[in-house]
């Protein structure tokens, strides 16, 4: 009896060396412009080719402007040079690239599932920690550093130690106004920022089964914020239906045979997990982070510092430093905290269902005076779908900026950034200090909650607006 994770691991095991390291075969490698240049340089210096170019796909995302004129104008010269470097490396090494003018371009973890690149039972890596997102399709997917990017390009394998497994059973169902993002924040709050270190997490249970693939992608996305490199959901009928209309090439040709085998991709018994915990989805409410780690979170109807349980002098100091950075007082009502910026985007929450949820909140209304609202679709495909559904117009009418796709203000590399002291209601994944721009203050929440907060000009529970 064994776990889904162990089954995929075993089917990709190429060799084991005397030290006990496993050599795993990597089916798919996703490349972006930020974590790949040094890897390509190292290959070129050593005279090594990319071993199996069909197994790689590159996309420009982290650094790309989200302005309408980006095909002709990239203001930051370093960004422009990095984007050009990926173009040149893709040409030299024969790796396919979804460039800025490609309708499939977008954030790597939005594009890969959307284009049917990620299949159940496969191994996927990318030089980006949010690769855990892709485990939502029942793949063994994880983020790696640039040395491993080089290694996988050169050998199509990685040396790894098998992590332990952790099963997270999520019972019940989410209430209206509560989303996968709230669930992800609740999981991180429950097990802590290092609760998943050394483990691969599998999510299962009634709540997970009822989530759409896009919601599962959101849940798995934030697994890394709980310390785990891998977040998986076993494939089911929802997965098969999602992929049937997206796969292409060999996966399209062999779809029935492939999907027939996916039924076996499940954990035999919860007793097979090394560690196990349970969470009740029906008790989860709309959440917001008040501090500088994704575990510093509370109900939107709660207060700053809720859920902080004291600790030793160092932990007290961290709490005080976090609140000083965030410009908040302990015990302050979260519903009274004003915002400057509302950001809807990132590999966590920029898919069409996210945009629909946010648009439903703001339709026919206008964001508060003084608030800057940005909507950055996760891919050009999402952008076009949202435009044809009329969502883009809903956002524009409500006073939001409607931008081109990319990582944008989640990481603040591309010119979309907070200025010092600005407070942002954000659908992104990291509320670390300086993450969205030097001195910026990030509060993580769901797209509906960001939309509600944009209307109110302060943190707001999306259920307030709906009522």
């Amino acid at each position: 009896m064994t776990t889904l994770f162990d089954k995929i691991w075993a089917s990709h095991l190429v060799a084991q060396d005397p030290s006990g390291d496993d050599l795993l075969y990597i089916d798919r490698h996703l490349v972006h412009e930020v974590s790949s240049p040094q890897a390509f340089t190292a290959l070129a210096d050593a005279g090594r080719p990319v071993r199996s170019v069909a197994r790689h796909m590159a996309v420009q995302d982290h650094n790309v402007p989200t302005t309408a004129d980006r095909l002709t104008h990239i203001p930051n010269p370093e960004s422009a040079a990095q984007i050009e470097t990926l173009r040149s490396n893709a040409r030299t090494f024969g790796v396919r690239l979804l460039d800025l003018d490609d309708r499939r371009q977008g954030i790597v973890h939005v594009v890969a599932p959307e284009q049917g690149y990620v299949l159940p039972g496969s191994t996927v890596v990318c030089g980006d920690s949010h690769t855990a997102t892709l485990g939502a399709l029942g793949a063994l997917a994880c983020g790696v550093g640039t040395s491993e990017v080089e290694h996988v390009m050169s050998t199509q394998t990685l040396w790894m130690r098998k992590p332990r497994t952790m099963g997270i059973e999520i019972t019940g169902t989410l209430a209206p106004g509560v989303y996968a993002k709230d669930l992800a924040l609740a999981v991180i709050h429950h097990i802590g920022t290092s609760g998943g270190v050394g483990h691969a997490i599998e999510y299962y249970g009634e709540a997970v089964s009822t989530l759409s693939i896009e919601a599962r992608l959101t849940l798995c996305n934030m697994t890394i914020e709980a310390g785990s490199r891998f977040g998986l959901v076993a494939p089911d009928a929802v997965t098969v239906a999602y992929l049937r209309e997206r796969v292409r090439g060999a996966a399209y040709e062999h779809f029935d045979q492939a999907s027939a085998g996916w039924a076996a991709l499940r954990t035999d018994s919860p007793a097979d997990y090394d560690k196990h915990t349970t969470l009740d989805a029906s008790a989860v409410v709309p959440m917001v982070t008040w501090g500088t780690t994704p575990a510093d979170s509370a109900a939107l109807t709660g207060r700053v510092g809720d859920g902080f349980h004291g600790g030793d002098a160092d932990e007290q100091a961290r709490f005080a430093a976090a609140l000083a950075y965030m410009g908040l007082e302990p015990g302050q009502a979260l519903g009274s905290v004003p915002i400057d910026v509302a950001f809807i985007g990132s590999c966590t929450n920029s898919r069409i269902e996210d945009l629909r949820a946010a648009a439903d909140v703001v339709r026919g209304k206008h964001i508060a005076r003084g608030v800057r609202g940005l909507v950055v679709p996760g891919s050009t495909t999402v952008k076009m779908a949202a435009e044809s559904e009329g969502l883009a117009q809903v956002f524009l009418d409500a006073g939001f900026e409607w931008r081109e796709s990319g990582c944008s203000m989640c990481i603040g590399m591309n010119g979309d950034a907070l200025t010092p002291g600005q407070r942002c209601a954000s659908t992104s994944n990291r509320n670390f200090e300086n993450r969205q721009g030097q001195g910026g203050r990030t509060h993580l929440m769901s797209p509906a909650a960001v939309a509600a907060s944009a209307l109110a000009g302060r943190f707001a529970d999306p259920r307030e607006v709906a009522a």
Partner: protein, 201 residues
């Protein structure tokens, strides 16, 4: 050939905060650079500018070869620049209660020791450094120990396989190419049994 790391000796710098993320170690705007060298110039760039006490070790005249940190050091982004920056600045070993998994893996790829200690040993080491002032620590990889200047000694734990990698002179890719036959055999199996895995699309 890679560098063999069996011993690290040098001044210790102590960090107090849990969850020091790789965005703090290496702010994202410097990720636009496409080289691997010289990244030490950007280590803790924002925290230095803000005079954050966690970056105070960098103001000392003697480089901290060993960092002592609490929980979940190097969490967050997979950016290897965080390790390149530490190594370029001069850090050769970190002793922490726990790490971000990707960061810890990136350390060993760059010949940086990323060891853990038990909570009791870690507390004793931090107290010792507080009581005896700034001093050098001596880390022995094969023995898995750290020794203070007065000879006080604590055990260290390395992640499985890390000691073998630190002590090996073999390049990471050269090591793998020894398994070429097994890789080819796996690819042959995939082509016949699950051809849908052989190409991204």
């Amino acid at each position: 050939m890679k560098r063999v790391v069996s011993r690290v000796t040098g001044r210790a710098g102590v960090l107090r905060r849990d969850d020091i993320d790789t965005d703090a170690l290496f702010p994202a705007r410097f990720l636009r650079l496409t080289q691997r060298s010289g990244m030490g110039a950007y280590l803790f760039a924002d925290w230095l500018a803000e005079r954050n006490p966690e970056a105070a070790f960098m103001a000392e005249p003697v480089v901290a070869r060993v960092l002592v940190a609490p929980q979940n050091f190097g969490c967050g982004s997979s950016r290897e620049q965080a390790v390149w920056a530490l190594a370029d600045y001069g850090v050769q070993a970190v002793l922490a209660l726990s790490y971000g998994d990707i960061f810890r893996n990136n350390c060993v790829k760059n010949d940086v020791v990323a060891a853990t200690m038990t909570a009791d040993d870690h507390a004793a080491l931090v107290s010792h450094l507080e009581a005896h002032g700034p001093q050098a620590l001596d880390i022995d990889v094969p023995a898995r120990t750290v020794v203070a200047e007065d000879g006080t000694r604590w055990p260290l734990q390395l992640a499985d396989g890390h000691a073998e990698r630190l002590l090996s002179a073999e390049d990471h890719i050269a090591r793998t190419l020894r398994y070429e036959t097994a890789i080819l055999a796996h690819e042959q199996t995939v082509r016949s049994a699950s051809p849908w895995l052989a190409s991204v699309d």
